[in-house]
């Protein structure tokens, strides 16, 4: 593993699943991975905001990524996880269908995303990583979780 680093820069990525696609977020942005738990609904917010949870004393907002990207109905199973990510000093939990892998990917395998991947606009993506037979969609969390976005969305809801 270490020898590889000398040649190509690598990043550690948490792999999660939405429907049948695999996505990745950098480990440095992930605080923890939680099991599904009771979520307190917050009224009059965009549909993808599922509410808030008590994360060890800190009230943390939860976003359902599938609803966020219009990827179909939410279905909670035993594999459903909440990935707590941090963008700057903002912490948000993301509901995903499964999260069970941590891999190293060489930076040079990340390619510019096509305009739309699996229904997600390119602005929300950092790129697509090709690894042997796997295709990993790298999310740009800064864009996905930008506060301007939620404010625009919630004013639309009203």
């Amino acid at each position: 593993m270490l020898e590889h680093k000398d040649t190509v820069e690598e990043i550690k990525v948490i792999v999660f699943r939405l429907n049948d696609e695999e996505y990745g977020v950098e480990v440095s942005q992930v605080r923890s991975i939680e099991k599904m738990q009771n979520i307190t609904r917050v009224p009059r917010t965009p549909e993808f905001v599922k509410g808030v949870i008590n994360l060890r004393g800190v009230v943390t907002p939860i976003v359902n990524l599938k609803t966020r990207f219009n990827l179909g109905e939410e279905q909670y199973t035993d594999a459903t996880r909440i990935i707590i990510v941090a963008v700057e000093d903002m912490e948000v939990g993301l509901i995903v269908d499964a999260a069970n892998d941590v891999i190293d990917i060489p930076v040079n395998t990340i390619e510019q995303p096509p305009a739309v991947v699996g229904g997600i606009k390119a602005t929300y993506l950092r790129g697509v990583a090709k690894l042997n037979d796997r295709l990993l969609i790298m999310l740009n969390l800064d864009k996905v979780l930008s506060p301007e976005e939620i404010q625009a969305m919630s004013s639309m809801e009203r």
Binding site: N38, T40, R41, V42, P43, R44, T45, V49, G51, V52, I53, N54, G57, V58, V59, T60, P61, V63, D89, M90, E91, V92, L145, P147, I150, Q151, S154, R158
Partner: protein
């Protein structure tokens, strides 16, 4: 009124402002064209002026006012930022700093001579040729240096009246006064200890009447390698030098004879004053030695007293308090959890222990909360003096009324709210109230009324400043705004009153016809607005022409633990702050009336609109509920009310305020935050103010 309790606050704030001015002037020197920086300096100077005037430090207020004049020209581009201008400004700051340290030591700002600098500032403002640079520099450096030029015999040390008298008297008695500069060797580690030994040695052969730095600073090792002291002794120079050099680690002792023939008259006068002041001439005649020292020890004593007064309270970093409160919040959550576990288990011992713990933590909680909460009185109390002085300066008669001074606010808010209130009060008295003659002509009482009122409402504290003056002249504002290019003439007429009043808060806007010492540059209101908004509050203006004006400041309660009523609607639980609740009630469905499609109820003779929280919050419900009666919580915002329909009341409880997380903060309707319940679930806290329009 006792100003002492505000002195410390004044000192701290002034230090901050002076620091800010210094830093910004340095920035300005680098970027002479930046008007933003001039504005920042201007505001600091303006605030400093207001504070100094409030505390009655007239010299300081006078100097800052002149400074402001120069800065005003600078920001209007009428005065270029040259090195000369900067020198004068820096000189001002030096003097202000000198004044401040004098205020700290002796409680007055009067001894420093501000005239040369004031004259320079006036010269700048009037555009007259500048004083030669040499003269400009002298008063700028320090007042001590300025006095040094008066007399060649002066040795660059300033003596106060007591000291001069002692010097004078001891000389008559054949004592010598020496200025001794002691330099410690580089290898010296325990400098304070060495300084003490030097003092000790000299006190055996004479009296030390002054030292620089002060003894306290020397004890705390607040000096480098050198310190100076003034010694009165019968010994000759050589003996004095040897006394010093005999102490190990003293590298050098340089001695100058102090000649105090300067300004005999003044000193004599001072001597008389001192003699008069020391009403009971303690041991004046019996003991030569004592006579010389008694005034000196007196000053020392009075200084000690000052020190002790300042030492009574401890200043704690607000961040540390925040940590304390956060930790305590966690404890409160666990306490609630423990209580429910104990009652489930039913073990008597456990229940008793938990009860005891609850009591202790309740006490602890009230202490923790009161640490941060301060009655607005601490800010309000300094205003009557200011209002009186202002009224006198402006030849106006003012009846000043304060109500609700017991209202408590978080310390952080209290610290910030002083300046804006000063601005608003000055504004009311200067711009709002008319002169007594004008008032009589209008058929009003010659004495104007200014009211300062504070009260709690819901999650907010309101502070209102109202006057019965002339009100705001809409046309005058519009004219001015158009003149200044803030708005164009076409849009002006159609603006609603509220928006016209808002123009007052525009930067650089003022309707005063002439600039007064009090207000009138239009800085005040724009600073007020910015400040209040950074505190998360709002400012509103209401005015009737000829009748008066009311400024309302709405501030959030930054309390982190609040009393709340927990209610349930379908499967969801919400917390309603108790401060918003008038009462809970059960009403029959048949008592609900409709007015214009709005459900209303009768509450003690008042028609109160009914809000179904289920609809407001789109709460999903699996089974429809059909009851004869509805549970309502009657809440208020100011004097408006609303009845909120809920399924059931869970009960009253103390809850810990938590934010919704940065992602959602500010974007959720009618929810001010959240809390964690005893069972670990999150409940949302309702913001009733948003529900009532």
């Amino acid at each position: 009124m006792d100003m002492n309790q505000y002195l410390e606050m004044f000192i701290e704030e002034s230090k901050e402002h002076l620091q800010a001015i210094n830093e910004n002037l340095l920035e300005l020197e680098k970027e002479p064209k930046s008007l933003d920086i001039v504005n920042v300096v201007f505001r600091s100077a303006h605030t400093l002026k207001g504070m100094a005037a409030t505390m009655g430090f007239e010299n300081m207020a006078h100097l800052t006012h002149e400074m402001e004049n120069a800065l005003d020209l600078m920001r209007n581009g009428k005065l270029a930022v040259t090195s000369n201008v900067m020198d004068v400004l820096f000189g001002c700051v030096d003097i202000l700093e000198g004044q401040l340290s004098e205020i700290i030591e002796s409680g007055t700002d009067s001894t420093n001579d501000i005239k040369p600098t004031v004259d320079q500032l006036k010269a700048l403002v009037s555009g007259k040729p500048m004083a030669p640079p040499a003269a400009a520099a002298a008063p700028g450096t320090s007042s001590a240096a300025a006095e040094a030029t008066d007399s060649e015999e002066n040795i660059g040390i300033e003596f106060n009246e007591y000291e001069s008298t002692i010097l004078q008297q001891s000389r008559e008695r054949g004592y010598n006064a020496y200025k001794i500069v002691v330099r410690l060797s580089e290898a010296c580690l325990l400098r304070a200890a060495r300084a003490y030994m030097v003092f000790d040695a000299y006190e055996r052969i004479g009296e030390i009447i002054k030292s620089e730095p002060r003894v306290e600073d020397l004890e705390e090792e607040k000096f480098d390698r050198e310190f100076m002291l003034i010694l009165l002794t019968e010994s000759d120079v050589e003996a004095v030098r040897n006394t010093g050099l005999n102490i190990s680690e003293v590298a050098d002792v340089s001695i100058t004879q102090v000649n105090i023939s300067t300004n005999e008259k003044a000193v004599e006068q001072a001597a008389q004053q001192v003699a008069a002041a020391v009403a009971a001439p303690i041991a004046m005649v019996e003991n030569d030695h004592h006579e010389a020292t008694s005034p000196a020890t007196r000053t020392a004593q009075s200084q000690d007293n000052k020190k002790m007064q300042l030492g009574k309270s401890v200043r704690v970093d607000i961040d540390r308090l925040d940590v304390l409160i956060n930790l305590f919040s966690e404890l409160v959550i666990d306490r609630t959890r423990l209580e429910s576990i104990a009652s489930e288990l039913g073990n008597q011992d456990l229940i008793e222990t938990v009860e005891h713990m609850s009591r202790i933590s309740t006490d602890l909680q009230s202490i923790v909360m009161t640490i941060r909460m301060v009655p607005v009185e601490t800010v309000f109390n300094r205003f009557p003096r200011m209002v009186r002085d202002l009224a006198r300066d402006l030849n106006k008669k003012v009846e000043f009324i304060i109500r609700g001074q017991e209202t408590e606010l978080d310390r952080t808010v209290i610290d910030e709210i002083g300046d804006p209130l000063v601005h608003l009060l000055r504004n009311s008295i200067d711009h709002g109230l008319e002169l007594p003659e004008v008032r009589k002509q209008k058929g009003k009482d010659a004495t104007g009324r200014v009211e300062l009122v504070a009260f709690h409402s819901g999650n907010h504290v309101f502070i209102e400043i109202s006057d019965d003056g002339n009100g705001i002249d809409r046309e005058k504002i519009l004219k001015k705004a158009i003149e200044k290019g803030v708005i164009d003439a076409a849009t002006g007429d159609s603006l609603p009153d509220a928006q016209v009043y808002d123009l007052l808060f525009h930067s650089g806007f003022s309707t005063a016809d002439k600039i007064s010492d009090v207000s009138g540059r239009g800085v005040g209101l724009d600073v007020v607005k910015t400040k209040i908004e950074t505190l998360g509050g709002r400012v509103l203006v209401q005015s009737t022409l000829g009748k008066g004006t009311k400024f309302s400041i709405q501030l959030p309660l930054t309390l982190s633990i609040i009393d709340a009523m927990l209610v349930q609607i379908a499967d969801e639980k919400y917390a309603i702050p108790l401060t918003s609740i008038i009462e809970t009630a059960i009403i029959r469905k048949s008592d609900i009336k409709r007015v214009h499609k709005q459900a209303v109820m009768d509450f003690r003779g008042r028609v109160v609109p009914i809000l179904y929280l289920e609809d407001v919050f789109n709460i999903p419900r699996s089974e429809a509920l059909d009851l004869e009666e509805e549970n309502v919580v009657i809440v208020r915002k100011g004097d408006k009310m609303a009845a909120l329909v809920v399924d059931s009341f869970i009960g009253q409880q103390q809850v810990v305020l938590k934010s919704l997380g940065k992602y959602l903060t500010g974007s959720v309707f009618a929810i001010s935050g959240s809390t964690i319940l005893g069972d670990g679930q999150v409940a949302l806290i309702m913001d009733c103010n948003a529900l009532i329009h």
